[in-house]
Symmetry: C2
Subunit: 407 residues, 2 copies
């Protein structure tokens, strides 16, 4: 296949698949009675549990708004209405008490807290939802909610974590876990879109997040480790040796977007070489294909039971990372790797019968869990990937058109 035909083929597949995936969520996940979304969905879309996991509520509101706002064929009233009902559900029920902004991790269908995590992630996805809802509806109320929560979670993450409720224990030294600066960088990207005031306000937070992510490059730049010490040193034991290839790849494209906004060529190169190519080379299963979920940098067997399973989200993050990396560098290796991941994904994860993707495959690529949604899988990584890939591929084809026209 010629280069242009390859790009076109991928773009068409991404577009078609985005429509199928969104159709699944629009048909099955809306809670018309209480607002918000059912995300515990069986293979065929049936609700197998009415609990509402707040990461997924926030992410789905974000996804609906983003598509409504940016992609003409999704600019539909039903999508906007569902997103608003989801946002209102979050406003009414995310915070589990009146004396703190701390959000629950999971609530009942009608919004009563079931479980609270002592982390900042429910809050992060609340911010994404509210900010995108503001951009979509222009209602200041949502913007205010996003900014207020953002200030609070940054305070918890950088100044004083005591509001999260974690006990201080003498054997638990503070850890720089990559998830935290990654999420903060992603939020900076979200909040600063075409907003100079925000860009100024969050400039320092963005730099801090990048610096904290880069600390995870260890062993003379030959490995990305998921957890390092507060001063950027390798930690002892399993915690220190833990690797999460999907996270590294996701951090890769977050760093790339930061590099693009700041025209930072050094960071661009680090993002591609160290956070995209390196984790792909070490994290790809040479025998069965697919990305491992977890690894130990010294080759010990990880203690996470799912370490060798192939999950949907590391693969969606790899697709975005390779394509965005290619757009920025035109390094042909990135397009070849994109092809490898694309072929694996489109033959293994898709469900031609009911739509949406399976989330959890065994090491050898068989469906291990038939659910389409659950406590951690909702309407987010897959449509975000398909949407971003469609946009990037369209841009590449457009440039190619212009180049041809200029001949």
């Amino acid at each position: 296949m010629g280069e242009r035909r390859r790009l076109q083929h991928w773009r068409d597949q991404m577009r078609e698949e985005l429509d199928r995936v969104m159709d699944f969520w629009i048909r099955h996940s809306e809670d018309k009675e209480y607002g918000g979304f059912f995300t515990c969905l069986s293979q065929d879309g049936a609700v197998y549990d009415p609990l509402k996991y707040l990461w997924l509520q926030g992410r789905q509101v974000w996804m609906y708004c983003r598509l409504y706002r940016k992609v003409p064929r999704f600019h539909r009233q039903e999508i906007l209405s569902s997103a608003i009902a989801g946002g209102e559900f979050l406003l009414a029920h995310a915070k589990h008490s009146t004396d703190s902004l701390k959000c629950a991790f999971v609530v009942t269908r009608d919004g009563r807290a079931v479980k609270v995590q002592r982390t900042i992630f429910s809050e992060c996805f609340y911010v994404m939802a509210m900010d995108e809802l503001w951009r979509t509806t222009n209602k200041e109320l949502y913007k205010k909610a996003a900014r207020e929560m953002m200030d609070q979670l940054v305070h918890w993450a950088r100044e004083d974590p005591s509001g999260l409720g974690r006990p201080e224990l003498p054997g638990a030294d503070p850890v720089n876990s990559m998830a935290v600066p990654m999420m903060l960088l992603n939020l900076v990207d979200q909040l600063c879109e075409e907003d100079k005031d925000a860009a100024k306000k969050y400039e320092e937070l963005g730099s801090w997040s990048v610096e904290r992510i880069l600390q995870h490059m260890q062993r003379d730049g030959q490995a990305i480790l998921e957890n390092v010490s507060e001063d950027g040193k390798e930690l002892p034991g399993c915690l220190g040796r833990h690797q999460n290839p999907g996270h590294a790849l996701e951090a890769g494209w977050f760093l790339l977007r930061h590099a693009m906004r700041h025209s930072d060529h050094t960071l661009r190169q680090t993002a591609v070489e160290k956070f995209v190519l390196l984790p792909f080379h070490s994290g790809w299963d040479q025998e069965h294909g697919g990305l491992f979920s977890f690894q130990d940098v010294d080759g010990h067997c990880p203690t996470q039971l799912e370490w060798s399973m192939k999950m949907w989200w590391p693969h969606t993050e790899a697709l975005i990372a390779f394509l965005l990396g290619y757009q920025e560098t035109r390094d042909p290796r990135l397009l070849d790797h994109f092809q490898t991941v694309f072929d694996y994904v489109f033959t293994r994860f898709l469900d031609p019968e009911y739509g949406e993707w399976f989330g959890y495959l065994s090491q050898d690529g068989k469906v291990a869990l038939s659910i389409k949604g659950g406590p951690f899988k909702g309407c987010f990584h897959i449509p975000r990937c398909l949407y971003m890939c469609e946009v990037i591929l369209s841009r590449l084809l457009e440039e190619d058109n212009q180049a041809t026209n200029e001949l």
Copy 2:
């Protein structure tokens, strides 16, 4: 094979395997510097993490003492010394603060708390360790530690859980999770051995635990569910439909022992029919063999990623349950099922190269994690099973001898 030869073959295999397994732990797990045990051991016994998980510390102390006390060939000074060093490590470091008996879940090699669970299980295994250590050494100090902790954890479990630090949340109704009454019943069994005062003291707790376990028999007695409401009703959603065949089988032999102590034939029958045979029939993988880790009673796909993995401990509990059930009922079905599980276990889990068993197999029976110990797998289920099976099989053979002599 004739019946007697079959029993003899199993007994010899159990005995030989117990020696091999204990040899692995004795050679690799002792921390000679700080006391206690390394349990994060690779396939070959190398320590891949020095952290000490307290469930496993308590269990290993118990196992060493029990074998020292009951099995002549393990009545060795090195085993007693390791057990005492482990017990002293627990006394010094299990409680993570001075104002409460609450124990940590995991501590550093030198005993500093890393993580605390808001449950009673570290405390349960602390009680088992201390009580068995008292029986082995006759030191009152250990008995006192066991009784004090027992009173505290029973108070947390039955009267007031606030000392565990769990927040009360409006969507989280109290749950009767089978693990709690199971562990309490197991502790009653432990504490009451040849001790009339204890038997009197814990009589009511034993009955309460049995009653709470029996509440998990649901759907007209056709299913054991892992979580029910405080008043013994089925709960909604995944939580309510959750099944754990290994737990049901383990509860089965805990109930059997209670029935034996109290000559309760009705309970004996319920234990065998409902907690041993029923979960085995529904939990055994007809295609690949082995017990599923988790199931959904309505056949939905569980959300636990490891649901279809075959783990070591449900199989050890099945072996004990079938053999003890056979000893008590002479129901030949139980011996046939024992054979099925025995054959699966001895061909799949054992590691002929380095000893000890693999803990985690994929659904189709391949080794998924090569570790011999980790945060949840230590020196407990396997040697307890081998020791109990050796004892029961020896007893059956002895009875058979007597019967022959009496002819």
